[in-house]
Subunit: 360 residues, 4 copies
């Protein structure tokens, strides 16, 4: 991942992309999209609007969907068989299919020499994820996972606050993502919702997880519809995730505790999504006979920084196009995708073991 | 627990007490209070204002505290040694000391033939809790644990909604109790905050827990300052608790999922603390070859019932006085206290085992 | 206004339209749209998606805008001169221009025998509004003003609650619509924002206003950027409006007081936009010497009914098409438009007189 | 008003008082309190806890109230006739009676040579208010009105932000104070609720009002139970007040617009009561033929400063004691009280004239 991108202030991915692209004005990335279901149309809309991309081909098994798409994008050709996109006429492919197709399609595309943009989670196992990472390296192609939130204004702003050291020591990362959700056919709530939060955590904490515990419950059908996951790191830092398809209210809230400052990120707030609290805890150990621990609290101002409002998916797609055209490593590359998949996989294993920790 | 109390609508504990007390107008409960620290003054204020109680003696090791109390309650005598309250001049004693003194003081008081009102958690181990339960039964004295929330308007209203069957099948109980909290000297966050939520759960769900998993973290000093606990029951019902002394914002929120309706209870809402959502999920299994699970969602009105605003601690103290005078079993008797302590103890054990489930 | 439309439950305008349209399946309304600025594209999108409408021609002075529109709607013809739409090839026209063009364009269209759908406010004076009402009656054409909120789920639900008599006597209507707003070139904040709230009030209260007082202030440029308006009715009922382009936060809140129940309608709430409070006031006059007025308060449950989520503008456009094809009177016809314009005009006059009441 | 008090940072009134008092440790203010109704007990509690005050005598016509007070404050003597407090045994008197007694009692107390602390509003007419101001000057006694909010952390913080010039030009002051309120026997909603907001405005804006318009309505009994008031200043600055006893929800919100920054003060927020928005508007007049006004918006960070949490009434009572003992002029002296009464009186007059402006 290029340092320059990583350390820039929030919201500048798209801006930088634009700047870089100007230098490469002649180059255009010929893009195909596989899958037009729930999320695909957003991918299509964004690639269609990026200057250095040419949206060429769209593939879906459902012809009605293809018709609807073609009415809106008359210049685009459509296919019902993904194999047709591997014929060398495209530079890159975006894969927005059900999860089980991510691995075979990404593999085929990489082998056909294409850059690959794949929906989250990257694959349904760490073994296949690792294979894609290696294949992309081997083929020297960009492999990027659509961890969309990493490209959002709030998350990039929080990253810059953490990188500035404002929070002090990181104490915990607590995330709640619940609502009355649609049951997926091929993914439980862990594989459906948690990739968002685990990828946000991976990007923000920049730490290597050591173990995962999780507990889930199946109320309807045969898949977990709610789960609690804990990720352990070296030292006292904990990350915890509550994902739930059965909640009467929608909550999207992350609290990040630091010894100096703490952050509350509420993605549903109309304004002031990121609040930085000048509150903290410090500790002094008194050497007197009772070895009493003296803990001090500090409360101060609250600060809600202005947040960049660029559509995160536009920033993500633009970043992918830029990396593909310029040979850069995406911010959420295959390695990031693999790190997320490993945690999901361990969580699934821990659920089967009633919450016993799975070491990573 | 007397049926008549249990099934009355929310907030009527105190009212009933008043009604009953009229019949026993001659009887008065002579009450002593041990411990005038953080919570003790509230206990004192309430027992001082209950008609069928006579607040006689207050005990604390700190003479300055005793002076301050006596200035406000000139008719009350004060003691620095709890043994002085066991001399037969009192009918009942309220124990508001640090947790480690709950067991020895409650034991001494029961053995001296007194009724006992003890702060939560009842004791610091299930063995001592069980011993107190047996001793109270043996001595035929009321033993009540101050699970204050069980006597609050919101919790009693939720119980009546659950007892009416409105929620359908119970799916989960999710509780968050976090804020920038005071570190306790003799209790970690599990023993300090979780008794509230575990006692609410015990009262509302009325189910026997089967196992407990918990993960905690120690950031300052030598005790857990945050923890996540999960309680498993037979079937898919889960209860989960997040308790945290290191949060920048105060949250007191419980979500109870049912197949027919769901409840959000936010104890910090100025009005509308209990919201009942007419939302639910139902499932049909399609027998066709793919055994596709058909899940239906239902969304409807929201309803926020009027909540009784009697001070919960007043209702609790009145209920205790009534039970002591009339030989009734308190709603939150020693058995309830023991059930809560068993869960806390199992959570502590699971924390030591990195979240592995402890069977109850 | 046809009784059948008026008394149907919330959200059924579009549904009824659909039902009626089936009977007239052969009939199609040929629609043109004048003005593609801020709101026009929404009008275009909705008329393009209504089954019994054929979007034929779009007119705007700005050729770039027309190009952009035609790319999305290739079958539609474009014009830069509105006169070209008066040639008899259209059945109806939607006017989405700056306010000063509403009257001349609506007049020309009615005279050309077309049905007219015009943005709010209908015109910039009651004289021209009255002229359009008479012309539409004369020509037997549908004249409908786009009071969009009248077609929204929340407002229709509130109307049905009022019509059921649940609120008791209406006491007041208080509306706040403020944010950091765009300054309009040809309208001050009264003519820009207040039409929303005045049309909502007109629809909900169904009372004849007697007088208007208003105070405004000009901070930038030469038009009022904030104003407070009061509408008086016979008896103690008051309506008050705060409209403001200079507020740091966005507020869209209406409180409707009744003697039996009261409503809070917050258009920015993600869920539970309409809350019905079972609170009220009743009064008894004590005949004792001091003639003391005894006032009782009642507080009870709160109820948030499920709200229909049909896009209000889709419901409005569908209703217009239906009225035009079937000869019905629109819910927000020229008379409704005139009632709103009279209030705005009186408010403007009162502002010039430092808040002195203008009798209607 | 002494400069030193006025320019200190928020919340330091009590602190300064403490500092000053140390120097005058020998001096003690002998205080009497007249009226033990709704607010009186708070006044009593605070004067009882201030170091340099001795609470001597309490007066109320209701002997039961006096008994209850004396049980809590056994050292205090009680009287049923206020004349008994004018015998020279007291240095100061606090008047917490119904409004109509403020003037005669304050007059009698000043004439008896006492310092006077009087509840808001100071009197029920500007004539009597002016008389008290002159009498206090003549007798060289402190006359202070209990404009409690002026001594609160949020209001003092806002004042310091305004004094720092952060807001730029003041554009407007908008205040809403509504709830389901108790009807007063001798005051309508203007005289009951608006003194809070008018005194806050007087303290914050520091401008001379030029005119007042108001509209009110009487729904129950014979007094206004809701009202809207507007205060005009030189230039475009407007202040507006909504006071209402008939609202289903409690709102206490003030928005202060400035050209550089804007403030939202919500007194019901558990934390972050004062939010400073870095948003503003600037204007450029384009000299081109259309004299188009170019208006720029600016949106930036939001900042919620830490707010001092000292009980405002304690700060007010301490400040009074200090001023009385040291011969200083209170921050909310008779002049401030008179300024507020003049606005209330003008509002009442404007209500009678259907909102026509009353010039001050």
């Amino acid at each position: 991942m290029p340092k320059s991108t990583d350390t820039t202030p929030s919201g500048t991915v798209a801006a930088e992309t634009a700047a870089t692209s100007r230098a490469d004005a002649e180059q255009t990335l010929r893009v195909g999209v596989i899958g037009c279901g729930y999320w695909g149309p957003n991918i299509i809309r964004n690639f269609a609007s990026i200057e250095n991309c040419e949206l060429r081909t769209i593939c879906d098994a459902d012809e009605d969907r293809l018709d609807a798409i073609q009415r809106r994008y008359p210049a685009v050709s459509v296919e019902t068989d993904a194999a047709a996109l591997m014929d060398g006429s495209l530079d890159a492919v975006a894969i927005c299919t059900p999860i089980r197709f991510h691995y075979p399609m990404a593999k085929a595309a990489l082998e056909a020499g294409m850059h690959v943009f794949v929906e989250k989670p990257m694959t349904d196992s760490s073994a296949t994820a690792r294979e894609l990472v290696e294949l992309a390296a081997d083929k020297k192609r960009a492999l990027m996972v659509d961890h969309t939130f990493v490209y959002s204004g709030p998350v990039r702003k929080i990253r810059s606050i953490i990188d500035d050291g404002q929070l002090g020591d990181l104490l915990y990362f607590d995330s709640v993502r619940i609502n009355l959700g649609l049951f997926q056919q091929d993914a439980n709530v862990v594989w459906d919702l948690a990739p968002h939060d685990v990828s946000i955590m991976d990007y923000l904490l920049q730490r290597e997880p050591k173990g995962v515990s999780a507990i889930g419950s199946v109320h309807f059908g045969d898949q977990e519809d709610m789960a609690y996951m804990t990720v352990r790191f070296d030292g006292p830092l904990l990350a915890h995730f509550h994902v739930n398809w059965l909640a009467p209210v929608k909550i999207r809230k992350t609290v990040i505790g630091g010894s100096q400052q703490m952050i509350v990120y509420d993605d549903l707030e109309p304004t002031d999504r990121v609040k930085v609290y000048d509150k903290g805890v410090s500790v002094n150990v008194d050497d007197s006979e009772r070895r009493r621990v003296l803990i001090d609290y500090r409360t101060g101002d609250m600060f809600a920084p202005k947040i960049d409002k660029t559509e995160p998916l536009f920033a993500a797609c633009s970043h992918f196009a830029d990396c593909a055209l310029n040979g850069n490593t995406p911010l959420t590359d295959g390695e990031a995708g693999l790190r997320v998949v490993r945690i999901l996989e361990a969580a699934q294993e821990s659920i089967a073991k009633s919450g016993a920790e799975v070491t990573l």
